[in-house]
Amino acid sequence: MCQCCCSAEPVVDPKAQKLAGVFSKYRGEKGALIPVLQAAQEIYGYLPKEVLESIARELKMPLSKVYGVVTFYAQFHLKPRGRYVIRVCQGTACHVRGASQIMEALQEKLAIKDGETTTDLKFTLESVACLGACGLAPVMMVNDETHGRLTKDVVLKILEQYE
């Protein structure tokens, strides 16, 4: 509650405005929680507590349920994430073709572990079960771009593209 700047125009947060748009799109729709969370994460990059609270309020559901859903699905994140999200496939095909070495190389290079984000908020590293591009194993995705036939050297070169 603002108690100091009564004369100023209310500041409209563009992200909050977008979120309001999401709410109106899904208003009254059954089972809207997950798409709303996806849209909210799209807007904010992650899911801050305040956003979860407003989602719970809007959808008239207990916050604990929202939190339960958020922590259940790998897609949702409660902490800020890097501009580039690297998802390293750890599927069977990739595993037998050395995916764990790719993961190791990335961890070493970025000095973060699986699931972590670099301090400059540039990269987030995570492993995924399968990207469905088994023909190109081992595979990783950087944001929406898929990179295949990885070796340690290739991976380091790819990282450079995102400087």
């Binding site: 079960a129 399968c130 190109l136």
Partner: protein
């Protein structure tokens, strides 16, 4: 008119097919050929390893691994003069023979493509192309000439069984939903393809989305549903995009929405994007997830056919199952039933991955042997290594040894052998694959993906994984095997859902067929496949090493010492066992020792 089909599936896009398309269009414009030659972006050919794939019609010329720089040649030679660019042709593994025509390639020649027929051959973002290949004819036939009961009979007659897991007869499933009382029913397409190593559903959605929609429509008509959901996993953005386009086009043209084809049948279709949980591939968990909850499975019965989404009768099938439906309605159930074996009808798409030469999707008639798939279609094992096992059915499946290579591939034989059809992932393993490690890999997966609801799965997979990890680290005891077996049986017997009930399968089959490997790990501290890091030591064969220093220079841990042109050696204390040195060594001087061999190093 000549057509150039450029694959725009995820695999080929990753290999640069978008650039090829752009370059080709530019080139055609420049040469003034844009009017005569049509460039079509298609879905996946299922041969992703060879991507980007470009096909020139007519002539069925198959170019693979095409890069931007190859475009001028294709235009100048093939498109302008009808000449073939030899260097872009596919070379058969083994013989090395170049093949020009798509259908002459062994990989494709042995397949029977019903479901994948359109994939790679039509533009999935253009409804007209689908219509041109008899698209929506099955729906038309169902809606205009058949009663709902007749449609169900036709599907029952076809013998189609669910392509996603346990292989329940599709027609019977539809009949349950049809018979379930209720004025509101749903059709759900399970496109949450989560089995690592399986990507047929993705390819179908990316390459032929209308076939899935048509299958769902036919189902909707049959069971009396007017609403459907396609639950697509979050990792498939391209498939989701294509589906959206397809739904919009189908709605525009009256194949979806109100009064479809003027018959009074209404059906609306929505996409639900998953949020990253393997367990949501389990049908009750998927429904729970659609409802906006934690994707935790529910107890069955009641089955979804009785109480599905929001407690309404719901029929749920997977992508491949629905994609089979249009052709059944078009050509008839008995025609379909003529393919396959007595109890497993039609074709099945397999995803061939692992240490196989031709990685990709193969659609084959049921009953074909594993050997035919792996060696005739798949081209055998990479790098001339020995076949060891094939893992079939994903994390729920099992590992079959070479003794079972002649097993006919059908639902029942696989189940009997301890594996399962699952979604059809085939991961081929060679002598360098450790079976204990593979079991551990799968348990790690199921353990991570367990929803946590029931005790046996939540706690049991954790403990099984711990035991397996102990064994791969050389800390196992013989009683661990006993413990593992006991736990595996109880988890299989008592877990709530399919994920938990099948989670022990990789353990049970590897114990059944490769028990000696477990024993070697425990009794001899030996990993016969030389995979388990704690049980191997890297060692340089002094006689073979020529002192080129390549290995030392590539070692990130500075574990390799040695003067130039002198034999090098590895300090085991520093070695991280990353394996880079072996890749670099041209002399084959670096080897992995295990078990008793490791004593060599100590002396």
């Amino acid at each position: 008119m000549r057509r150039v089909l450029i694959c725009a599936g995820t695999g080929c896009v990753a290999s640069g097919s978008r650039k090829v398309t752009a370059r080709l269009k530019e080139e055609l414009d420049r040469q003034g050929l844009a009017e005569q030659i049509k460039v079509v972006n298609t879905g996946c050919h299922g041969f992703c390893e060879q991507g980007p794939i470009v096909i020139v019609e007519p002539g069925d010329i198959f170019y693979c691994q095409v890069q931007e720089k190859d475009v001028p040649d294709i235009v100048a030679k093939t498109l302008a003069n009808g000449e073939v660019v030899d260097r872009l042709l596919f070379k058969e593994p083994g013989s090395g023979q170049a093949v020009t025509r798509y259908h002459d390639i062994h990989f494709y020649a042995k397949q029977q493509r019903l479901v994948l027929k359109n994939c790679g051959h039509i533009d999935p973002e253009n409804l007209d192309e689908y219509l041109a290949v008899e698209g929506y004819e099955g729906l038309k036939r169902a809606l205009t000439t058949m009663t709902r009961e007749q449609v169900i009979e036709e599907v029952k007659l076809s013998g189609l069984r669910g392509r996603g897991g346990a292989g329940f007869p599709t027609g019977v499933k539809w009949e349950f939903a049809y018979n379930s009382p209720g004025d509101k029913k749903y059709v759900v397409c399970n496109a949450d393809e989560g089995d690592p190593g399986a990507f047929m559903d993705r390819s179908i959605l990316e390459g032929d989305p209308h076939a899935v929609i048509e299958g769902m429509l036919i189902c909707g008509y049959a069971i009396g549903a007017d609403e459907g959901y396609i639950y697509v996993r979050a990792e498939y953005p391209l498939a989701t995009h294509r589906l959206r386009v397809a739904i919009a086009q189908a709605t525009d043209r009256g194949y979806l929405g109100e009064n479809i084809l003027g018959t009074g049948f209404n059906f609306k279709l929505k996409i639900k994007e998953g949020a990253g949980a393997f367990v949501c591939g389990e049908e009750t968990a998927l429904l729970t997830s659609i409802e906006g909850n934690r994707g935790m499975p529910r107890v069955r019965p009641p089955f979804p056919a009785v109480k599905g989404i929001w407690e309404k009768p719901t029929n749920i099938n997977n992508v491949e199952t629905f994609a089979n439906v249009p052709v059944i309605l078009r050509k008839g159930g008995s025609w379909y039933a003529s393919i396959g074996t007595e109890r497993s009808k039609g074709t099945k798409v397999f995803a061939l991955t692992g240490k196989i030469i031709n990685t990709g999707l193969a659609e084959v008639p049921m009953g074909i042997t594993m050997r035919e798939i792996i060696f005739d279609i798949g081209g055998g094992i990479q790098k001339g290594k020995e076949f060891k096992a094939v893992q079939i059915g994903g994390p729920s499946g099992g590992c079959l040894p070479k003794e079972l290579l002649d097993l006919p591939v059908d639902y029942d034989s696989l189940t009997q052998a301890g594996a399962m059809m699952g979604s059809g992932g085939l991961v081929v393993m060679d002598e360098t694959t450790c079976m204990v490690d593979v079991a551990r890999f799968f348990l790690n997966f199921t353990q991570k993906e367990s929803c946590g609801k029931c005790t046996p799965c939540r706690e049991g997979t954790k403990r099984m994984l711990e035991i397996l990890t102990r064994i791969t680290e050389g800390k196992g005891e013989m009683t661990d095997i006993e413990r593992l077996e006991r736990l595996a049986k109880v988890v299989k017997n008592t877990a709530l859902c399919g994920l938990g009930q099948t989670a022990p399968n990789p353990i049970l089959t590897t114990l059944r067929y490769f028990r000696d490997e477990y024993e070697a790990h425990i009794n001899e501290a030996s990993c016969p496949a030389r995979v388990c890091k704690e049980l191997i030591t890297y060692w340089i064969h002094q006689e073979k090493c020529n002192g080129c220093t390549r290995c030392a220079r590539s070692c990130a841990s500075s574990a390799i010492a040695g003067a130039a042109k002198q034999p090098h050696s590895i300090d085991p204390a520093k070695c991280s066992k990353c394996g880079v040195c072996i890749e670099k060594c041209r002399q084959g001087a670096i080897v992995k020792l295990t078990g008793k061999e490791r004593q060599l190093v100590k002396h």
